[in-house]
């Protein structure tokens, strides 16, 4: 065929017409890398979880890419350090959506940032998976794109309540929270749920985390006849003061509650190591070792893979495992659907039933985006940290 002006014009008009009619465009992006946006508070306050998650993210992406990628497509992780600042998280999210055009977002890693960016990602229909615990962050109607990788706070509360009532078999419980928004909300929810399940909440208090002397509240709890103290605070200083006061009072009441009670910093804040005994913090079955010192087989498999590549001494295994799972979940969605379209990734996640991640066995549906199973949330012996894992609290098999 001759190349004439008429032919060129006809061809051009046809192409414009076809694109206007919505005919398929050449799939240029389908051969490019899978872009994963990673909103991580890698520096600044509360950066420890993101640093742990990041080790898992880097490990998983490198492992997938070394094995040839996902149907030949490499995983490209685009990280933005949000520094724990919601404003920076919002800016990074907007950059990822409108400029970087990522295929999915993993993170942010703290609830404050997540509260700010979740509606933005929902408007852009951006597939998002995150580990933040605040209950309201997951709502499949309002945020059909948002999925939770870790337990929600109500699942922590379920596990704590179950441990108090079914394992420790106590009836009289004191509930203590700090005076932050989280501490007040968590303590109120905990008290309500305990009462609903027939427990006698003999003492309920919110304590300023900077209060130097915990004796008044501990005395009141003791005088009220508390057989266990449920504690909801992210303040390790407050936790340590409570444990020290318990020892000074010569009281052996168990503490059950927030994961911060197992933070390594408490080891240096308690006056004697024994003050940290009989403290049971929220943990995860996948990252807890049994009385023989053994992790579940699937978790041990991950630890073996990480050996020599990822340091677990100064972090928690669940953070690293969560990072690995997040990247694998995104990669798996692209592998199964063959697409990086938002609809395809979200649609795939909505079909997952008992997906065997390293951190948890996830199940999502269009109506339920809290994918972590409550029965995998367990209590850990708070002072038993070993390479990012903890001993199961007494009472678990």
């Amino acid at each position: 065929m001759d190349i004439s002006r008429r032919n060129v014009l006809l061809g051009g008009a046809g192409a414009v017409g076809a694109s206007a009619l919505g005919l398929p465009r050449p799939a240029l992006a389908a051969s490019g890398p899978i872009k994963v946006g990673w909103l991580a508070a890698l520096t600044g306050p509360s950066s420890a979880p993101a640093i742990g998650f990041n080790r898992g993210v880097v490990f998983a992406a490198e492992a997938i890419n070394a094995a040839g990628g996902v149907k030949g497509r490499k995983i490209e992780v685009i990280t933005r350090d949000t520094q724990g600042d919601p404003t920076k998280a919002v800016n990074a999210t907007q950059e990822m959506i409108s400029q970087l055009k990522v295929d999915a977002v993993w993170g942010p890693t703290n609830s404050g940032e997540s509260l700010a960016v979740t509606p933005i990602m929902a408007r852009a229909k951006m597939p998002n998976i995150h580990p933040c615990v605040i209950d309201s962050l997951i709502d499949p109607k309002k945020f059909p794109n948002a999925f939770r990788l870790s337990p929600a706070n109500f699942q922590w509360d379920d596990a704590v309540r179950h441990y108090c009532l079914k394992v420790l078999k106590v009836k009289k419980v004191a509930v203590i929270g700090d005076t932050t928004g989280y501490g007040v909300a968590a303590a109120n929810a905990s008290t309500a749920a305990l009462k609903k399940d027939g427990a006698d909440v003999v003492y309920h208090a919110n304590i300023d985390a900077t209060q130097t002397d915990m004796t008044p509240d501990m005395l009141r709890a003791k005088n009220a006849g508390a057989e266990a103290i449920v504690c909801w605070s992210t303040s390790t200083g407050m936790d340590a003061r409570l444990f020290n006061t318990r020892a000074t009072m010569g009281w052996d009441v168990p503490f059950v509650g927030h994961p911060s009670m197992s933070s390594g910093e408490i080891g240096s804040l308690v006056e004697k190591p024994a003050n940290w005994d009989k403290v049971y913090a929220v943990g995860y079955r996948s990252c807890s070792y049994d009385s023989a010192g053994k992790l579940p087989a699937h978790s041990q498999e991950l630890v073996d893979k990480l050996k020599g590549k990822v340091d677990l001494k100064d972090t928690l295994l669940w953070w690293v495992a969560g990072g690995v799972d997040a990247i694998n979940l995104i990669a798996k969605a692209v592998e199964v659907t063959g697409s990086t379209e938002s609809k395809a990734i979200i649609g795939y996640w909505n079909t997952l039933t008992k997906y065997p991640g390293y951190f948890g066995t996830y199940t999502f549906s269009p109506e339920q985006h809290n994918g972590y199973p409550t029965d995998e949330v367990v209590m850990s012996a708070a002072s038993s940290a070993k390479d990012g894992t903890f001993a199961l609290a007494p009472g678990y098999s």
Partner: protein, 285 residues
């Protein structure tokens, strides 16, 4: 219970009193209410923990180093946040500059140190129960500071020069006193007193970045109660505040104790706006 109230009330009251004296020392030489006092207290604990726990330095040397660092920060405060606004004291710009500097210190400490409380070691290892050193060390530090300041102001030439500047800095300058240098020295002294508050109260408060705003707030109460620039008033106000706060903790609980403290504070100021020990402001006409 009474013994516990007295022990911890006196201890935390002594820390508040020292922060009150820090406010006063800066105020008397510059007429500036510097809101870096709480940050200095916070840094006293952080430097103490840094030198003793992380670097393993002997407590005596750690104390000296901490005092030197806090004195330097006091001097920086004078240069950065106070001197530029001295000419327009009536506009109260110092509230902004000193608060901004305190915030700067706070954020820097949070990033470089930790946002979580860190351990502060025992200094002497003496005492247990209500006689634990965490209760009597702040009281001892407060008593030593008062004695030291009394000696400085009453028995030394430099101290008398401080008092002269505090009384009337124009007259002091007219007499040939180096008012600017004395003000710098005064801020260095205030830095040391603030740091000592955090160091002595370290076992109670821990080395914690959140102590800054707390001490700023509760350290200001004895100043207002005792009268601006009145160290004796600050000590009585501080100890009284500590005892009242601890009693309220026992009787009505943590959250309500703050309400009780500030309700009393407002009532006292309504009854005696110049503070319990301050003289009413008089202006010669």
């Amino acid at each position: 219970m009474l013994a516990s109230i007295i022990a911890s009330g006196l201890a935390i009251g002594a820390v508040y009193a020292l922060i009150g004296i820090t406010y006063n020392t800066m105020y008397s030489c510059s007429r500036v209410m510097s809101f870096t006092a709480g940050a200095l207290g916070m840094l006293g604990g952080v430097f103490g923990s840094l030198f003793m726990v992380r670097m393993g330095i002997h407590p005596v040397l750690a104390l000296v180093l901490m005092l030197a660092c806090c004195a330097l920060i006091g001097v920086v405060t004078e240069f950065v946040a106070v001197r530029p606004v001295l000419k327009s004291l009536d506009q109260h710009l110092y509230v902004l500059t000193t608060l901004a500097l305190a915030l700067l210190m706070q954020q820097f400490t949070a990033i470089e140190w930790s946002t979580e409380p860190q351990a502060f070691p025992k200094l002497f290892g003496i005492g247990s129960g209500i006689w634990d050193e965490k209760f009597w060390v702040p009281v001892l530090a407060c008593a030593a500071t008062i004695a030291g300041l009394e000696y400085l102001y009453r028995r030394t030439l430099v101290g008398r020069a401080f008092v002269a500047v505090a009384e009337d800095n124009f007259a002091a300058r007219a007499l040939g006193l180096p008012e600017r240098n004395l003000r710098i020295a005064s801020y260095a002294l205030a830095g040391m007193i603030g740091g000592l508050a955090g160091f002595a109260g370290g076992q109670l408060l821990l080395a914690f970045v959140a102590n800054g705003p707390l001490l700023n707030f509760y350290g200001f109460v004895p100043v207002a109660l005792g009268g601006m620039g009145n160290n004796r008033g600050a000590v009585i106000g501080g100890i009284g505040l500590g005892l009242f706060q601890q009693t309220a903790n026992f009787l009505v609980g943590g959250i309500f104790s703050s309400v009780a403290v500030f309700a009393l504070f407002i009532i006292v100021l309504l009854a005696a706006p110049q503070g319990l020990f301050g003289a009413p402001a008089a202006r010669r006409v």
